[in-house]
Symmetry: C2
Subunit: 407 residues, 2 copies
C-alpha cells in the first residue's frame, strides 16, 4: 500500500473548504485564532475525546452533536479553552448556532473545539463577527490558514495530506494537528482534525479512528499532563466515489486504516518534535513484547520519563534511566532480558543486553545523540508484539514556556 | 501526643552507633560515600521496597536477610546503585559478609542499600578497606556523618530525631533520608533509614512502617520516576525498656505510629524541598474526598504535574492546571465541586469554587506564591477523607542537573 504526500492539508480531499482568521480572542492581531473546516456534503464523522474527568465545554457539546454520526463543519478557536467556565456550554452552543446560521445548516451539524488557557471567561463578541468572516473566507486553499489558527504554543503549523487507492478509486486524507504542552493524550491528542473523501460507514469510521489513535496519538507524551480539551475528529464525505466501506474484513477497510495510521504517525511525530521547549524528537520502538498492551505501555513509559528526557537534552546515553522506566511500567511482563539500541542518522549503538551494561563507546553514543531525531529501540525478548511512542527531550525552554505562559 | 525534636539523628535512640566515611566509590575525596548504622542488640526490622520491576541487587539481598524480621546493621554506599550489573548480587553479598565479619555478627544480620548511577560496575576494592574503617569510626555522634554519606544530588544531609512517651517510658525515633531525583516512591522513598529504641514485635513494626509510608514517603513526587533502589528500613532494638508492643489496638501502638508518622512527614517535606533544582516546597492537602485512596491519588496527581510545577516556579496562580491534574487522576469520584485555596506565609487566596473560576487578585496571588513553601489546599466536597502529598517546583536547574548528571 503506497501513500503519496499531496498538498492542500485538510482541503486535499474532495469537497472540503477551510479558513483561518483572526477574530479577536487573542490580543495579538497577527495571530489567527479561529479555524473553520467545512464539507460540501454531510460527512460521516467519528471522534475520540480526552479521558480527563474535567472536560472542556466544547467536548460536551460536540459529543451531543455527533450522536448521529454525521457533521458538516468543524469550528475551533485558540487562545481560550472554554473550560471550567460557568457559562461554557452556553458559549459553545451559541458558537455552533452562529456557524450553522452562516452556513445554512443545523447547529447539530457543527463540531466545536477550543484550546488555550483554562478557567478564563470566553466572550461571545469575537465570534459574532468572526464566524461570518470565517465563512466568507472559506476556500480550497484555506488548509494552511486553518492549521495556523489552531496553534497555541506550537512553533509551527502542522498540516499534511496523502493519497491512496481503494478499489481502484483515488482517495485522500488531510490532517491538521496541534500540540506542544499539556500532552499525554488519553483518547486523542490535543486537537487533530482529519478529513477524507472516502465513503465509509460511521461505525467503521469510529472503529478505525479509535484503533489508530490508540497506536499513534495516544502514544505521545510531552509532559504527562492529559489535557481537558483533547479531541481527534475525522470527517469522511464520500466524494471520492468508492463503494461505501461496510466490512471490517475487506481490503478496502485495511487500505483506509493503513492510510489513516500513516497520517496519524505523521501527526504524532510532528507534535512530539514540536513539544514545548523540545530540541529533539524521540521515537521509541518496543519489539518482542508479551502483548500489544505491554509494548504500548513500555514505549510510552520510556518516552515519558523526565529523567530520560533530560538526559537526551544533555546528549548523555544514560541507558539506566530507560531500564528504570521499563521497570516501573504497570503490567505483567519480564524485564530481565531487555536489549537496548540507541540510533540516529549518525549511527547506532547497543548499550544494554540481558538488562545489563553492554560495553559501548561514550564518544560514539554522544555523536549519535547529537542528532535532532533519536530512535530508542527496545527488544524485550518476551513475546512477539510491538508498538511505538513519541516524545521529546526536556529542556530549559520547557520550564521557561510553562513558568511564564500567560505573559 | 507530643513529639519533641532531639539531636543525634539515627543515634538518638539508645543503643545505636553510626559512621559515614569516604571509601573511594566517589572520586571526590571530600565526599563521604559509605554509611553504617549499627544496633548494639538485635533489632526487630521492617522494610518497604520499590515496586519497580527492575530492582537493584542490594534489594534482593536485603529481602533475604530480613526474612527473619531482625537485623543488626545497615550498610549503604552512594555513588553507584549496583543495579543492572551482572555481578551485582555477588558484590552486595560480599559487602554484607565483610561487614558481618568486622562486627562479629552474621551476614544475614546486615541490611544493604546502594544509591547512584545505574549500570556501572561496582568494584569491591573500596569496600575492602572502607568497611573496617567505617566500623572503626562507629560512634554515638556518627549520625550526621552517616546522613552525609548517603547523599547523591541532595544539596544537604537530612537527619532528624524526636522523642515521645509510650506507657510512661521515654522512647526515641531517629531518621536519615536522601532523595533529590528519580523520585516517585512506590513502596518507599529513595532511601530512608529509621532507628528506634522502642520494643515492638516485627509484625507490628512492618505494619506500622507500611501504613506510614503509604501516607507519607509514597506521597512525594519530584519527577515521576520510581527508582530501582527505593528502600525504607526501620530498626527497633527495644532498649527503651517499654513492654513489647504486640497489640495493634493498644494506645502504645497508636503513640508509636503517630511518632513514626511525624518522622516520615518530616522526611517527606525535606526530600520534596530538596528535589533536584527545587526552589519551592509544595504541600498539597486534599480534604472531603470520597475515600483515602482518592484523596491520596488526587494529592499526588496535583504535585506530580509538570505544568503545575513549572507554574509554581513562575509564581503564576494557574489554577486550571490543578483542576486538570485532579481530572486525570484515576478513580471514581466527582470533580465538579472542587474548591481550591493557595496559601503561604504571605496569606491565602481562594482561586476556584465549584470547579470554576473564583475572582481573586493576581497581585495577591503572586505575593503568596513568592514564598519558599506553598500550600495547595483542595476541598473535593465529595466525602470525608483527607490526605497529603509533597513535591517541588520544576526549574531550569532540574534540567541542568539531569542533562549533565555524570560530569
Amino acid at each position: 500500500m503506497t501513500h503519496t504526500p499531496v498538498s492542500g492539508g485538510v482541503c486535499a480531499p474532495q469537497g472540503f473548504l477551510a479558513a483561518g482568521i483572526h477574530c479577536g480572542i487573542r490580543k495579538n492581531k497577527s495571530k489567527r485564532d479561529l479555524a473553520l473546516i467545512v464539507s460540501e456534503r454531510p460527512a460521516a464523522t467519528a471522534a475520540v475525546y480526552t479521558r480527563n474527568k474535567v472536560q472542556g465545554a466544547p467536548i460536551a457539546v460536540t459529543r451531543r452533536h455527533l450522536a448521529d454520526g454525521f457533521s458538516r463543519a468543524v469550528l475551533c478557536n485558540s487562545g481560550n479553552a472554554n473550560t471550567c467556565n460557568a457559562d461554557g456550554e452556553y458559549i459553545a452552543q451559541t458558537c455552533c448556532a452562529l456557524t450553522a446560521q452562516a452556513l445554512g445548516v443545523q447547529p447539530e451539524d457543527i463540531v466545536i473545539a477550543s484550546t488555550g488557557v483554562i478557567g478564563q471567561p470566553l466572550p461571545l463578541e469575537p465570534f459574532e463577527n468572526g464566524i461570518p468572516a470565517a465563512v466568507a473566507a472559506l476556500s480550497r486553499d484555506g488548509g494552511a490558514d486553518a492549521a495556523e489558527a489552531v496553534m497555541t504554543t506550537d512553533t509551527r503549523p502542522k498540516s499534511h495530506a496523502l493519497s491512496f487507492d481503494v478499489n481502484g478509486v483515488h482517495c485522500r486524507i488531510g490532517i491538521i494537528t496541534k500540540g506542544s504542552g499539556m500532552i499525554n493524550p488519553n483518547m486523542a491528542t490535543m486537537l487533530t482534525f482529519i478529513t477524507t473523501d472516502i465513503a465509509i460507514s460511521p461505525e467503521l469510521l469510529q472503529r478505525a479512528l479509535s484503533e489508530t489513535v490508540n497506536n499513534t496519538l495516544n502514544q505521545i507524551n510531552i509532559d504527562g499532563d492529559t489535557s481537558t480539551n483533547d479531541m481527534a475528529v475525522i470527517q469522511a464525505n464520500g466524494m471520492a466515489g468508492n463503494p461505501e466501506i461496510r466490512d471490517e474484513n475487506s481490503p478496502a477497510y485495511a487500505a483506509f486504516c493503513a492510510a489513516l495510521h500513516a497520517a496519524c504517525v505523521w501527526a504524532s511525530r510532528e507534535i512530539a518534535a514540536d513539544g514545548e521547549g523540545a530540541t529533539k524528537l524521540l521515537e521509541c520502538t518496543v519489539r518482542s513484547a508479551r502483548s500489544s498492551e505491554v509494548a504500548r505501555a513500555v514505549a510510552k513509559s520510556i518516552i515519558s520519563s523526565d529523567l530520560l528526557k533530560a538526559a537526551m537534552f544533555g546528549e548523555d546515553a544514560n541507558w539506566g534511566r530507560v531500564l528504570c522506566a521499563i521497570g516501573y511500567t504497570e503490567g505483567d511482563f519480564a524485564a530481565d532480558k531487555v536489549s537496548l539500541v540507541l540510533a540516529s542518522e549518525h549511527g547506532s549503538v547497543k548499550v544494554c543486553e540481558q538488562s545489563a551494561y553492554h560495553p559501548f563507546s561514550e564518544d560514539e553514543a554522544a555523536k549519535i545523540l547529537s542528532a535532532k531525531e533519536i530512535a530508542i529501540n527496545v527488544e524485550m525478548h518476551d513475546g512477539e508484539a510491538c508498538a511505538q511512542a513519541w516524545g521529546c527531550d526536556l529542556s530549559y525552554d520547557y520550564v521557561k514556556i510553562n513558568g511564564d505562559y500567560r505573559s
